[in-house]
């Protein structure tokens, strides 16, 4: 059974009051909270095993290295990557996506080649490709949305038919619309057209079972801080033969083979892409978060969120003057909304006073907000420690918003 009350007790930050009220944390899509088990794993590492990795032969260096490499193995298993070497630790999704753009895109794209991006993409999967396309004189194609907020697959396929598409950068789950994209179809079609697919899984990997081999994804990027881990750690999955063929992203220690006066060669993958001292304790924390999620079971996590989502959709739909963005299905556990014409900043300030934490703004998706004809939205997002009561709190706090601002006619 999925025991939310028990889970909640593992999260110290959720035990406190904010503005005199227990906290209803509905902003896990921005950053999730950390269970005690993750924090303990990190301090245990510092108390017993800390040193630099891959550099010393003393016992602590040995322990640090195995802690770091065990984290890589766990991460690989979590998404069913064939080998630990398919996992490159990064600062997060943003760095992972930039790694692909620079280490793959910059070297492999030529003038006239095409890159497909989508309107659901976070700036971190869009802007690097804008930049690489400019540097390489390649063309960028934007897949827009249907009225419901699904990817326009006809438009996608017509771009593929042009014959020049080399890269497809696509989001698995939108951080604004909640839309889950038909990622398997996208990958299959892209492969038939000879393109590689870069999947932004920042909003999917924390919430559902991902199997990179079943998806046949070429690259897949994830952030640890959205899945119970600390900030500053995430990873890129890449297919072995792609990673092996790539030039490094950053240069420095650990990523070299032989260094001569005027040139050097590169270490094997994944070291080639991990220049400098990595975030060792971050990897340890990420792995502990994976352990926590695995013990719950990703199917159960997904099931729990689906129930919460259904409840929240239902309750929010009944709030007068509310606009909910994106499709009802297929959707991940988040809902972006606006109430009357009240600006999201005012909404979230009032909600905060009621102890309810939501995100307000353009959520790093400006082109999408332009398409929605709104400068900003509020977003409530759900995770393993949320329950129906959190949603009830949100709904009643929205009544407070309406009392204060509701009758503004603009």
């Amino acid at each position: 059974m999925f025991d939310v009350a028990k889970i909640k007790r593992d999260f110290p930050v959720l035990q406190q009051e904010i503005n005199g009220k227990p906290v209803a944390y509905l902003d896990s899509a921005a950053s999730s909270q950390l269970p005690r088990q993750v924090m303990e794993a990190m301090s245990r590492y510092y108390e017993t095993s800390h040193a630099n990795v891959h550099r010393g032969v003393h016992t602590l260096a040995e322990r640090a290295t195995s802690a770091y490499e065990e984290a890589r193995e766990k991460t690989a298993r979590f998404i069913n990557a064939p080998l630990p070497q398919n996992i490159i630790f990064t600062r997060g999704t943003t760095e992972a996506l930039n790694l692909v753009a620079y280490a793959y895109g910059l070297h492999k794209l030529q003038a006239g080649d095409g890159v497909i991006v989508t309107l659901l993409d976070h700036h971190s999967n869009l802007v690097p490709w804008q930049q690489i396309a400019k540097l390489r004189n390649a063309n960028l194609y934007m897949v827009e949305l249907t009225d419901e907020g699904l990817l326009n697959m006809d438009q996608f396929r017509s771009y593929l038919k042009q014959g020049n598409i080399k890269v497809v950068a696509v989001t698995h789950a939108s951080n604004v619309m909640g839309t889950i994209t038909p990622i398997k179809d996208i990958i299959r079609d892209a492969h038939q057209a000879g393109a590689v697919v870069v999947v932004d899984a920042a909003q999917s990997a924390p919430h559902m079972k991902i199997d990179v081999q079943e998806l046949d994804a070429d690259f897949l990027a994830v952030s640890g801080h959205k899945m119970l881990g600390p900030t500053g750690i995430g990873f890129l999955y890449g297919k072995g033969k792609l990673l092996d063929s790539m030039e490094p992203f950053q240069m420095g220690g650990s990523m070299i083979g032989l260094v001569n006066y005027f040139e050097s060669n590169w270490a094997e993958v994944p070291a080639r892409f991990e220049a400098g001292t990595p975030n060792i304790v971050g990897a340890v924390g990420l792995a502990a978060g994976i352990d926590y999620l695995t013990a719950l079971g990703m199917e159960q996590v997904e099931q729990h969120e689906r129930q919460l989502l259904a409840y929240a959709w239902d309750r929010l739909s009944q709030v007068e003057g509310i606009a909910l963005y994106g499709p009802r299905e297929p959707r991940t556990g988040l809902i972006a909304f606006n109430v009357d014409d009240t600006h999201p900043h005012d909404v979230s300030t009032v909600l905060d006073a009621e102890g309810v934490a939501v995100r307000a703004g353009h959520h790093c998706a400006q082109p999408l907000h332009k398409w929605l004809h709104t400068a900003a939205t509020n977003r409530a997002s759900f995770y393993i420690y949320n329950d129906q009561q959190d949603i009830d709190r949100l709904v009643s706090a929205l009544q407070r918003v309406k009392e204060m601002f509701g009758y503004v006619a603009r």
């Binding site: 600006h343 999201p344 900043h345 300030t349 204060m404 601002f405």
Partner: protein
């Protein structure tokens, strides 16, 4: 810090019934600024008379209640003021937003925004119109190429 001290009636009143909304053709001072984190946009236009006093002031833009009410109150306040006086108001307003103790009675109804100083993420909303005014004046007077502090 209670919500009511942030969203005082004066603020909600200026938000719901903003004063001096619009643009001025042939303005003497004009600047539009955006607050990238929350998407607030404010433009301030001033018309000066022969003695260098503000003959008319208007604002345009969109955003949250704090940014819009601050702009609305600004336009009311600067009308009839000399440029030096307007600059003094800007300085006083910034000081108030830092949360410094002091006598801000010269700011009149703008004192209602004093509570914003306790909400660090909203200070930029309150100061946006004032930054626009400051940069507009700087541009007009050739100071700093329009850079603000």
């Amino acid at each position: 810090m209670s919500l009511d001290s942030l969203y005082q009636d004066v603020i909600l009143d200026h938000y719901k019934k903003p004063r001096n909304v619009g643009k001025i053709d042939n303005y003497d001072v004009g600047m539009e600024l955006a607050n990238p984190t929350c998407g607030d946009v404010i433009g301030i236009h001033l018309k000066l008379d022969d003695e260098g006093k503000v003959a008319d002031a208007k604002f345009h833009g969109h955003g949250c209640s704090i940014s819009q009410s601050s702009a609305s109150m600004l336009t009311v306040k600067v009308k009839g003021k000399k440029v030096e006086e307007a600059r003094q108001l800007i300085a006083d307003f910034y000081e108030m937003m830092k949360g410094s103790e002091g006598d801000y009675s010269k700011l009149g109804e703008l004192q209602a925004l004093q509570g914003v100083a306790k909400y660090p993420v909203r200070i930029k909303c309150a100061t946006l119109a004032w930054k626009a005014l400051e940069q507009g004046l700087d541009k007009k007077e050739g100071v700093n190429d329009g850079e603000s502090q």
